[in-house]
Amino acid sequence: MGLGSPDDAVVYRMENGTLLVATADFFAPVVDDAYTYGAIAAANSISDVYAMGGTPFLALNLAAIPSDMPPEIAAEIFRGGMEKAREAGVVVAGGHTMDDREPKYGLAVIGTVTPDRLLLKGGARPGERLALTKPLGSGVITTAYRAGQASPEALAQAVPWMLRLNRDAVRAVHATSARGATDVTGFGFLGHAAEMALAAGVRFRVRADRVPILEAARPLAEQWLFPGGTAANEMYFRQWVTFDPSIPEEVQMLLYDAQTNGGILAAIPAGEMDRFAEACRALDQPFWEVGEVVEGEPGIEVVR
Protein backbone atom coordinates (compact mmCIF):
# COMPACT_ATOMS: atom_id res chain seq x y z
CA MET A 1 0.00 0.00 0.00
CA GLY A 2 1.34 3.43 -0.80
CA LEU A 3 1.27 6.20 1.76
CA GLY A 4 -1.46 7.89 -0.26
CA SER A 5 -3.99 5.23 0.71
CA PRO A 6 -3.55 4.51 4.41
CA ASP A 7 -4.57 1.03 5.48
CA ASP A 8 -4.30 -1.22 8.53
CA ALA A 9 -0.82 -2.53 7.76
CA VAL A 10 2.05 -2.33 5.29
CA VAL A 11 1.90 -4.79 2.39
CA TYR A 12 5.19 -5.62 0.69
CA ARG A 13 5.53 -7.75 -2.43
CA MET A 14 8.52 -10.13 -2.23
CA GLU A 15 10.46 -11.16 -5.32
CA ASN A 16 8.71 -14.54 -5.37
CA GLY A 17 5.30 -12.83 -5.44
CA THR A 18 4.41 -13.43 -1.78
CA LEU A 19 2.78 -10.44 -0.09
CA LEU A 20 4.20 -9.66 3.34
CA VAL A 21 1.96 -7.83 5.82
CA ALA A 22 3.74 -5.88 8.58
CA THR A 23 2.36 -3.82 11.46
CA ALA A 24 3.28 -2.64 14.97
CA ASP A 25 1.22 -1.35 17.88
CA PHE A 26 1.66 -0.88 21.61
CA PHE A 27 -0.18 0.97 24.36
CA ALA A 28 -0.42 1.64 28.09
CA PRO A 29 -2.38 -0.76 30.34
CA VAL A 30 -6.13 -0.90 29.80
CA VAL A 31 -6.73 -3.38 32.67
CA ASP A 32 -5.04 -3.97 36.06
CA ASP A 33 -4.18 -7.63 35.55
CA ALA A 34 -0.72 -7.88 33.95
CA TYR A 35 -1.34 -11.16 32.12
CA THR A 36 -4.66 -9.96 30.66
CA TYR A 37 -3.09 -6.66 29.63
CA GLY A 38 -0.31 -8.49 27.76
CA ALA A 39 -2.82 -10.74 26.02
CA ILE A 40 -5.10 -7.84 24.99
CA ALA A 41 -2.16 -5.81 23.67
CA ALA A 42 -0.95 -8.79 21.64
CA ALA A 43 -4.41 -9.54 20.22
CA ASN A 44 -4.75 -5.87 19.29
CA SER A 45 -1.37 -5.81 17.52
CA ILE A 46 -2.06 -9.00 15.59
CA SER A 47 -5.50 -7.71 14.56
CA ASP A 48 -4.08 -5.38 11.92
CA VAL A 49 -2.72 -8.37 9.98
CA TYR A 50 -6.15 -10.02 10.09
CA ALA A 51 -7.76 -6.74 9.00
CA MET A 52 -5.70 -6.94 5.79
CA GLY A 53 -6.94 -10.50 5.22
CA GLY A 54 -3.54 -11.89 6.18
CA THR A 55 -2.23 -14.77 8.27
CA PRO A 56 0.26 -13.67 10.96
CA PHE A 57 3.25 -15.90 11.76
CA LEU A 58 6.02 -13.92 13.45
CA ALA A 59 6.16 -11.15 16.05
CA LEU A 60 8.63 -9.14 18.13
CA ASN A 61 7.88 -7.71 21.59
CA LEU A 62 7.81 -3.94 21.97
CA ALA A 63 7.79 -2.94 25.62
CA ALA A 64 8.47 -0.15 28.07
CA ILE A 65 8.78 -1.30 31.66
CA PRO A 66 9.29 1.03 34.65
CA SER A 67 12.54 0.22 36.44
CA ASP A 68 10.70 -0.12 39.76
CA MET A 69 8.13 -2.61 38.44
CA PRO A 70 8.52 -6.04 40.11
CA PRO A 71 10.07 -8.39 37.53
CA GLU A 72 7.33 -10.98 38.05
CA ILE A 73 4.70 -8.42 36.91
CA ALA A 74 6.67 -7.65 33.76
CA ALA A 75 7.04 -11.38 33.17
CA GLU A 76 3.25 -11.78 33.37
CA ILE A 77 2.72 -9.11 30.70
CA PHE A 78 5.11 -10.93 28.35
CA ARG A 79 3.54 -14.30 29.17
CA GLY A 80 0.06 -12.94 28.35
CA GLY A 81 1.31 -11.61 25.03
CA MET A 82 3.20 -14.80 24.21
CA GLU A 83 0.25 -17.09 24.90
CA LYS A 84 -2.18 -14.94 22.92
CA ALA A 85 0.31 -14.97 20.03
CA ARG A 86 0.53 -18.75 20.27
CA GLU A 87 -3.26 -18.97 20.05
CA ALA A 88 -2.95 -17.03 16.80
CA GLY A 89 -0.22 -19.33 15.52
CA VAL A 90 2.39 -16.60 15.90
CA VAL A 91 5.92 -17.14 17.19
CA VAL A 92 7.23 -14.30 19.35
CA ALA A 93 10.98 -14.06 18.93
CA GLY A 94 12.78 -11.37 20.91
CA GLY A 95 12.02 -7.71 20.60
CA HIS A 96 13.06 -4.67 22.57
CA THR A 97 12.33 -3.33 26.04
CA MET A 98 13.09 0.15 27.29
CA ASP A 99 12.68 1.95 30.59
CA ASP A 100 9.75 4.34 30.98
CA ARG A 101 7.59 5.67 33.80
CA GLU A 102 4.37 4.15 32.42
CA PRO A 103 4.37 0.57 31.12
CA LYS A 104 3.69 0.02 27.44
CA TYR A 105 3.41 -3.22 25.58
CA GLY A 106 2.56 -4.53 22.14
CA LEU A 107 3.97 -6.42 19.18
CA ALA A 108 5.47 -5.83 15.78
CA VAL A 109 3.76 -8.52 13.68
CA ILE A 110 4.54 -10.04 10.28
CA GLY A 111 2.14 -12.11 8.21
CA THR A 112 1.45 -13.08 4.63
CA VAL A 113 -1.55 -12.72 2.35
CA THR A 114 -2.39 -13.79 -1.19
CA PRO A 115 -3.65 -11.09 -3.57
CA ASP A 116 -7.11 -12.67 -3.84
CA ARG A 117 -7.55 -12.55 -0.05
CA LEU A 118 -6.30 -9.01 0.51
CA LEU A 119 -8.91 -6.90 2.37
CA LEU A 120 -8.64 -3.16 1.81
CA LYS A 121 -10.28 -0.14 3.41
CA GLY A 122 -11.24 0.99 -0.09
CA GLY A 123 -12.84 -2.31 -1.10
CA ALA A 124 -16.50 -1.53 -0.25
CA ARG A 125 -19.04 -1.28 -3.10
CA PRO A 126 -22.56 0.18 -3.20
CA GLY A 127 -25.19 -2.42 -2.41
CA GLU A 128 -23.04 -4.26 0.13
CA ARG A 129 -24.08 -4.79 3.76
CA LEU A 130 -21.99 -3.66 6.71
CA ALA A 131 -21.16 -6.31 9.29
CA LEU A 132 -19.49 -5.64 12.65
CA THR A 133 -18.14 -8.50 14.77
CA LYS A 134 -17.75 -6.99 18.28
CA PRO A 135 -19.86 -4.61 20.38
CA LEU A 136 -18.63 -1.07 21.10
CA GLY A 137 -17.86 0.51 24.47
CA SER A 138 -14.41 -0.74 25.54
CA GLY A 139 -12.95 2.80 25.47
CA VAL A 140 -15.40 4.42 27.84
CA ILE A 141 -15.48 1.34 30.10
CA THR A 142 -11.71 1.00 30.54
CA THR A 143 -11.31 4.76 30.94
CA ALA A 144 -14.05 4.99 33.56
CA TYR A 145 -12.68 1.92 35.34
CA ARG A 146 -9.20 3.41 35.62
CA ALA A 147 -10.79 6.57 37.05
CA GLY A 148 -12.60 4.51 39.69
CA GLN A 149 -15.99 5.21 38.08
CA ALA A 150 -16.84 1.77 36.71
CA SER A 151 -17.30 -1.51 38.57
CA PRO A 152 -15.21 -4.65 38.02
CA GLU A 153 -18.41 -6.17 36.58
CA ALA A 154 -18.56 -3.41 33.96
CA LEU A 155 -14.94 -4.04 33.04
CA ALA A 156 -15.64 -7.79 32.87
CA GLN A 157 -18.13 -7.12 30.06
CA ALA A 158 -15.42 -5.59 27.90
CA VAL A 159 -12.46 -7.89 28.66
CA PRO A 160 -13.54 -11.05 26.76
CA TRP A 161 -14.14 -8.97 23.63
CA MET A 162 -10.79 -7.20 23.94
CA LEU A 163 -9.09 -10.60 24.35
CA ARG A 164 -10.79 -12.14 21.35
CA LEU A 165 -8.69 -12.58 18.20
CA ASN A 166 -10.19 -11.28 14.96
CA ARG A 167 -9.05 -14.43 13.18
CA ASP A 168 -12.44 -16.13 12.94
CA ALA A 169 -14.19 -12.92 11.90
CA VAL A 170 -11.84 -12.65 8.92
CA ARG A 171 -12.21 -16.35 8.12
CA ALA A 172 -15.95 -15.72 7.82
CA VAL A 173 -15.32 -12.69 5.58
CA HIS A 174 -13.12 -14.91 3.40
CA ALA A 175 -16.05 -17.27 2.92
CA THR A 176 -17.46 -14.47 0.73
CA SER A 177 -16.06 -12.41 -2.15
CA ALA A 178 -15.92 -9.27 0.07
CA ARG A 179 -12.87 -7.03 -0.46
CA GLY A 180 -13.57 -4.16 1.93
CA ALA A 181 -12.75 -4.49 5.64
CA THR A 182 -10.88 -2.93 8.53
CA ASP A 183 -10.62 -3.42 12.28
CA VAL A 184 -12.26 -1.00 14.70
CA THR A 185 -9.64 0.41 17.09
CA GLY A 186 -8.47 3.86 18.15
CA PHE A 187 -10.53 5.94 15.71
CA GLY A 188 -13.75 4.31 16.87
CA PHE A 189 -16.45 2.71 14.78
CA LEU A 190 -17.35 5.89 12.88
CA GLY A 191 -13.73 6.92 12.38
CA HIS A 192 -12.76 3.62 10.81
CA ALA A 193 -16.05 3.44 8.91
CA ALA A 194 -15.38 6.94 7.53
CA GLU A 195 -11.91 5.86 6.42
CA MET A 196 -13.50 2.98 4.51
CA ALA A 197 -16.24 5.09 2.95
CA LEU A 198 -13.78 7.80 1.85
CA ALA A 199 -11.24 5.31 0.51
CA ALA A 200 -13.94 3.57 -1.53
CA GLY A 201 -15.70 6.79 -2.61
CA VAL A 202 -19.02 5.51 -1.25
CA ARG A 203 -21.54 6.43 1.41
CA PHE A 204 -22.26 4.26 4.47
CA ARG A 205 -25.79 4.28 5.88
CA VAL A 206 -25.40 3.14 9.47
CA ARG A 207 -28.43 2.07 11.50
CA ALA A 208 -27.63 3.29 15.02
CA ASP A 209 -30.22 1.07 16.69
CA ARG A 210 -28.53 -2.01 15.24
CA VAL A 211 -24.98 -1.16 16.30
CA PRO A 212 -24.13 -3.37 19.29
CA ILE A 213 -23.10 -1.49 22.43
CA LEU A 214 -22.03 -3.11 25.70
CA GLU A 215 -24.72 -2.53 28.33
CA ALA A 216 -22.18 -1.33 30.89
CA ALA A 217 -21.01 1.39 28.52
CA ARG A 218 -24.32 3.25 28.36
CA PRO A 219 -24.51 4.71 31.90
CA LEU A 220 -20.82 5.67 31.70
CA ALA A 221 -21.45 7.41 28.37
CA GLU A 222 -24.32 9.33 29.92
CA GLN A 223 -21.83 10.63 32.49
CA TRP A 224 -19.49 11.52 29.59
CA LEU A 225 -16.54 9.51 30.93
CA PHE A 226 -15.03 9.16 27.47
CA PRO A 227 -11.28 8.99 26.85
CA GLY A 228 -9.61 11.93 25.16
CA GLY A 229 -9.21 9.81 22.04
CA THR A 230 -12.97 9.53 21.66
CA ALA A 231 -13.34 13.31 21.83
CA ALA A 232 -10.55 13.69 19.27
CA ASN A 233 -12.30 11.20 16.99
CA GLU A 234 -15.53 13.15 17.09
CA MET A 235 -13.81 16.48 16.52
CA TYR A 236 -11.99 15.16 13.45
CA PHE A 237 -14.40 12.75 11.77
CA ARG A 238 -17.69 14.62 12.28
CA GLN A 239 -17.03 16.55 9.06
CA TRP A 240 -18.00 13.38 7.17
CA VAL A 241 -20.80 12.19 9.46
CA THR A 242 -24.46 13.23 9.81
CA PHE A 243 -26.83 11.98 12.49
CA ASP A 244 -30.57 11.63 12.73
CA PRO A 245 -31.12 14.31 15.42
CA SER A 246 -33.24 11.92 17.49
CA ILE A 247 -30.16 9.79 18.27
CA PRO A 248 -29.06 10.74 21.81
CA GLU A 249 -25.75 12.58 22.05
CA GLU A 250 -24.13 9.91 24.23
CA VAL A 251 -25.01 7.24 21.65
CA GLN A 252 -23.49 9.41 18.91
CA MET A 253 -20.36 9.63 21.04
CA LEU A 254 -20.31 5.86 21.70
CA LEU A 255 -20.17 5.36 17.94
CA TYR A 256 -16.94 7.40 18.02
CA ASP A 257 -15.57 5.63 21.13
CA ALA A 258 -11.90 4.62 20.77
CA GLN A 259 -11.78 0.83 20.94
CA THR A 260 -9.10 -1.57 22.10
CA ASN A 261 -8.92 -4.57 19.75
CA GLY A 262 -12.44 -3.91 18.49
CA GLY A 263 -14.15 -6.04 15.88
CA ILE A 264 -13.84 -6.37 12.13
CA LEU A 265 -16.03 -4.05 10.06
CA ALA A 266 -16.61 -5.62 6.65
CA ALA A 267 -18.70 -4.78 3.60
CA ILE A 268 -20.32 -8.04 2.49
CA PRO A 269 -22.07 -8.40 -0.92
CA ALA A 270 -25.79 -8.53 -0.16
CA GLY A 271 -26.26 -11.84 -1.96
CA GLU A 272 -23.57 -13.44 0.19
CA MET A 273 -24.87 -12.41 3.63
CA ASP A 274 -26.32 -15.90 4.14
CA ARG A 275 -22.98 -17.47 3.38
CA PHE A 276 -21.28 -15.03 5.78
CA ALA A 277 -23.81 -15.77 8.52
CA GLU A 278 -23.36 -19.50 7.96
CA ALA A 279 -19.57 -19.21 8.25
CA CYS A 280 -19.91 -17.13 11.43
CA ARG A 281 -22.20 -19.74 12.96
CA ALA A 282 -19.78 -22.54 12.13
CA LEU A 283 -16.93 -20.59 13.77
CA ASP A 284 -19.03 -19.47 16.77
CA GLN A 285 -18.30 -15.88 15.70
CA PRO A 286 -20.99 -13.30 16.58
CA PHE A 287 -21.77 -10.50 14.13
CA TRP A 288 -24.27 -7.67 13.71
CA GLU A 289 -25.54 -6.22 10.43
CA VAL A 290 -25.25 -2.49 11.10
CA GLY A 291 -26.00 -0.80 7.78
CA GLU A 292 -25.34 -0.73 4.07
CA VAL A 293 -23.13 0.81 1.43
CA VAL A 294 -24.92 3.26 -0.87
CA GLU A 295 -23.94 5.59 -3.67
CA GLY A 296 -23.60 9.28 -2.95
CA GLU A 297 -21.24 11.80 -1.43
CA PRO A 298 -18.49 9.86 0.38
CA GLY A 299 -19.19 9.86 4.11
CA ILE A 300 -21.53 8.40 6.66
CA GLU A 301 -25.15 9.00 7.50
CA VAL A 302 -26.29 7.58 10.80
CA VAL A 303 -30.01 6.85 10.85
CA ARG A 304 -32.17 5.08 13.42
Partner: protein, 197 residues
Protein backbone atom coordinates in the same frame (compact mmCIF):
# COMPACT_ATOMS: atom_id res chain seq x y z
CA UNK B 1 -19.21 32.12 44.38
CA UNK B 2 -17.91 30.47 41.24
CA UNK B 3 -15.67 27.49 41.91
CA UNK B 4 -12.50 26.99 39.91
CA UNK B 5 -11.21 23.59 38.81
CA UNK B 6 -7.66 23.40 37.52
CA UNK B 7 -7.65 20.35 35.26
CA UNK B 8 -4.56 21.26 33.27
CA UNK B 9 -2.35 18.30 32.46
CA UNK B 10 -4.97 15.77 33.54
CA UNK B 11 -6.07 13.04 31.13
CA UNK B 12 -9.74 12.41 30.38
CA UNK B 13 -12.02 11.70 32.12
CA UNK B 14 -10.47 13.56 35.10
CA UNK B 15 -11.44 17.05 33.87
CA UNK B 16 -15.04 15.84 33.42
CA UNK B 17 -15.14 14.19 36.84
CA UNK B 18 -13.66 17.19 38.68
CA UNK B 19 -16.06 19.56 36.90
CA UNK B 20 -19.03 17.35 37.65
CA UNK B 21 -18.10 17.21 41.34
CA UNK B 22 -17.67 20.98 41.49
CA UNK B 23 -21.07 21.53 39.85
CA UNK B 24 -22.63 19.55 42.68
CA UNK B 25 -21.43 22.24 45.07
CA UNK B 26 -21.76 25.34 42.93
CA UNK B 27 -23.95 26.47 40.06
CA UNK B 28 -21.10 28.34 38.46
CA UNK B 29 -17.78 26.64 37.80
CA UNK B 30 -14.72 27.65 35.82
CA UNK B 31 -12.68 24.68 34.64
CA UNK B 32 -9.20 25.31 33.25
CA UNK B 33 -7.97 22.77 30.71
CA UNK B 34 -5.04 22.67 28.31
CA UNK B 35 -6.15 20.28 25.58
CA UNK B 36 -8.83 20.41 22.92
CA UNK B 37 -10.06 16.95 23.87
CA UNK B 38 -10.56 17.91 27.53
CA UNK B 39 -12.26 21.13 26.43
CA UNK B 40 -14.56 19.15 24.17
CA UNK B 41 -15.45 16.49 26.74
CA UNK B 42 -16.07 19.00 29.58
CA UNK B 43 -18.15 21.24 27.30
CA UNK B 44 -20.27 18.38 25.99
CA UNK B 45 -20.84 16.97 29.48
CA UNK B 46 -21.89 20.37 30.87
CA UNK B 47 -24.14 21.27 27.94
CA UNK B 48 -25.79 17.87 28.09
CA UNK B 49 -26.51 18.53 31.77
CA UNK B 50 -28.17 21.83 30.77
CA UNK B 51 -25.38 24.28 31.52
CA UNK B 52 -24.13 27.09 29.32
CA UNK B 53 -20.40 27.03 28.59
CA UNK B 54 -18.36 30.02 27.55
CA UNK B 55 -14.79 29.28 26.52
CA UNK B 56 -12.03 31.80 26.98
CA UNK B 57 -8.60 31.04 25.53
CA UNK B 58 -5.82 32.50 27.62
CA UNK B 59 -2.10 32.01 27.40
CA UNK B 60 -2.00 29.66 30.36
CA UNK B 61 -5.00 27.54 29.39
CA UNK B 62 -8.55 27.34 28.14
CA UNK B 63 -10.98 28.71 30.73
CA UNK B 64 -14.42 27.12 30.50
CA UNK B 65 -17.00 29.24 32.32
CA UNK B 66 -19.91 26.96 33.13
CA UNK B 67 -23.17 28.32 34.45
CA UNK B 68 -26.90 27.76 34.58
CA UNK B 69 -27.73 29.87 31.53
CA UNK B 70 -26.98 33.55 30.96
CA UNK B 71 -30.34 34.72 32.25
CA UNK B 72 -30.00 33.24 35.71
CA UNK B 73 -26.72 34.00 37.43
CA UNK B 74 -26.04 31.67 40.31
CA UNK B 75 -25.35 34.37 42.89
CA UNK B 76 -28.91 34.78 44.13
CA UNK B 77 -31.99 32.77 43.37
CA UNK B 78 -33.47 34.58 40.38
CA UNK B 79 -36.90 36.05 40.98
CA UNK B 80 -39.63 34.63 38.80
CA UNK B 81 -39.44 36.64 35.60
CA UNK B 82 -42.28 39.07 35.21
CA UNK B 83 -44.05 38.79 31.88
CA UNK B 84 -43.22 42.32 30.79
CA UNK B 85 -39.77 42.71 32.34
CA UNK B 86 -37.85 39.91 30.57
CA UNK B 87 -35.73 40.25 27.47
CA UNK B 88 -37.05 40.86 23.97
CA UNK B 89 -36.41 37.73 21.95
CA UNK B 90 -36.54 37.57 18.17
CA UNK B 91 -36.98 34.11 16.69
CA UNK B 92 -35.78 33.30 13.14
CA UNK B 93 -37.10 29.83 12.24
CA UNK B 94 -36.44 29.97 8.51
CA UNK B 95 -34.02 31.32 5.93
CA UNK B 96 -37.02 32.96 4.28
CA UNK B 97 -39.24 35.78 5.55
CA UNK B 98 -42.82 34.80 5.09
CA UNK B 99 -44.23 32.19 2.76
CA UNK B 100 -45.18 32.96 -0.80
CA UNK B 101 -44.94 31.70 -4.30
CA UNK B 102 -41.26 32.52 -4.66
CA UNK B 103 -38.49 31.61 -2.22
CA UNK B 104 -36.28 34.28 -3.72
CA UNK B 105 -38.59 36.97 -2.43
CA UNK B 106 -38.44 35.41 1.04
CA UNK B 107 -34.63 35.67 0.90
CA UNK B 108 -34.68 39.28 -0.24
CA UNK B 109 -37.07 40.14 2.57
CA UNK B 110 -35.04 38.53 5.34
CA UNK B 111 -31.88 40.27 4.15
CA UNK B 112 -33.72 43.55 4.20
CA UNK B 113 -35.20 42.85 7.60
CA UNK B 114 -31.94 41.95 9.35
CA UNK B 115 -30.24 44.92 7.72
CA UNK B 116 -32.96 47.29 8.88
CA UNK B 117 -33.04 45.80 12.35
CA UNK B 118 -29.77 47.56 13.17
CA UNK B 119 -31.50 50.88 12.78
CA UNK B 120 -34.70 50.34 14.76
CA UNK B 121 -35.31 50.71 18.44
CA UNK B 122 -35.47 48.81 20.65
CA UNK B 123 -32.97 46.22 19.51
CA UNK B 124 -33.84 42.66 20.49
CA UNK B 125 -31.86 41.32 23.45
CA UNK B 126 -31.57 37.85 21.96
CA UNK B 127 -31.80 36.47 18.42
CA UNK B 128 -32.55 32.75 18.13
CA UNK B 129 -31.95 30.93 14.84
CA UNK B 130 -33.37 27.49 14.31
CA UNK B 131 -34.55 25.14 11.59
CA UNK B 132 -33.36 26.47 8.20
CA UNK B 133 -32.85 29.86 9.86
CA UNK B 134 -29.41 28.63 10.96
CA UNK B 135 -28.23 28.94 7.35
CA UNK B 136 -28.18 32.71 7.86
CA UNK B 137 -25.41 32.40 10.47
CA UNK B 138 -22.81 30.44 8.50
CA UNK B 139 -20.00 31.34 6.12
CA UNK B 140 -21.30 32.76 2.88
CA UNK B 141 -24.53 34.10 4.39
CA UNK B 142 -25.47 37.49 2.91
CA UNK B 143 -26.46 38.84 6.35
CA UNK B 144 -23.29 38.03 8.29
CA UNK B 145 -22.18 41.66 8.45
CA UNK B 146 -25.57 42.72 9.78
CA UNK B 147 -25.52 39.98 12.41
CA UNK B 148 -22.01 40.93 13.46
CA UNK B 149 -23.11 44.54 13.85
CA UNK B 150 -26.05 43.43 15.99
CA UNK B 151 -23.75 41.29 18.09
CA UNK B 152 -21.37 44.19 18.54
CA UNK B 153 -24.28 46.20 19.90
CA UNK B 154 -24.87 43.58 22.58
CA UNK B 155 -27.48 41.42 20.90
CA UNK B 156 -26.96 37.81 21.94
CA UNK B 157 -27.19 35.39 19.01
CA UNK B 158 -28.13 31.78 19.78
CA UNK B 159 -27.99 29.13 17.05
CA UNK B 160 -29.64 25.74 17.33
CA UNK B 161 -26.84 23.14 17.39
CA UNK B 162 -29.10 20.28 16.36
CA UNK B 163 -30.18 22.20 13.27
CA UNK B 164 -26.55 22.97 12.33
CA UNK B 165 -25.75 19.30 12.74
CA UNK B 166 -28.71 18.35 10.60
CA UNK B 167 -27.52 20.56 7.75
CA UNK B 168 -23.85 19.61 8.32
CA UNK B 169 -22.97 23.25 9.01
CA UNK B 170 -21.45 23.00 12.53
CA UNK B 171 -17.97 23.90 11.31
CA UNK B 172 -19.20 26.83 9.25
CA UNK B 173 -20.79 29.02 11.94
CA UNK B 174 -19.45 32.53 11.50
CA UNK B 175 -21.31 34.56 14.13
CA UNK B 176 -23.06 34.06 17.48
CA UNK B 177 -22.90 30.98 19.70
CA UNK B 178 -23.97 27.42 19.05
CA UNK B 179 -26.63 26.63 21.61
CA UNK B 180 -28.79 23.76 22.77
CA UNK B 181 -32.48 23.16 23.30
CA UNK B 182 -32.21 23.71 27.06
CA UNK B 183 -30.87 27.22 26.65
CA UNK B 184 -33.25 28.00 23.81
CA UNK B 185 -36.27 26.76 25.74
CA UNK B 186 -35.17 28.61 28.87
CA UNK B 187 -34.58 31.83 26.94
CA UNK B 188 -38.02 31.64 25.35
CA UNK B 189 -39.78 30.86 28.65
CA UNK B 190 -38.05 33.71 30.47
CA UNK B 191 -38.60 36.21 27.67
CA UNK B 192 -40.65 39.32 28.24
CA UNK B 193 -41.69 39.35 24.62
CA UNK B 194 -41.08 36.91 21.77
CA UNK B 195 -41.28 38.05 18.16
CA UNK B 196 -41.24 35.27 15.60
CA UNK B 197 -40.57 35.89 11.92
Amino acid sequence: MAKTVDARGLPCPQPVLLTRDALRESDAVTTIVDSDTARHNVTRMAEKAGYTVRAEEREDGIYLHISRGEAAPAVAPAPAPTPSGGPLVLVVPSEFMGRGEHEELGQILIRGFLHTLNEVSPLPDVLIFFNSGVKLTVEGSPVLEDLRTLQAQGVQILICGTCLGYYGLKEKVAVGEVSNMYTIAETLMQAGRVVSL
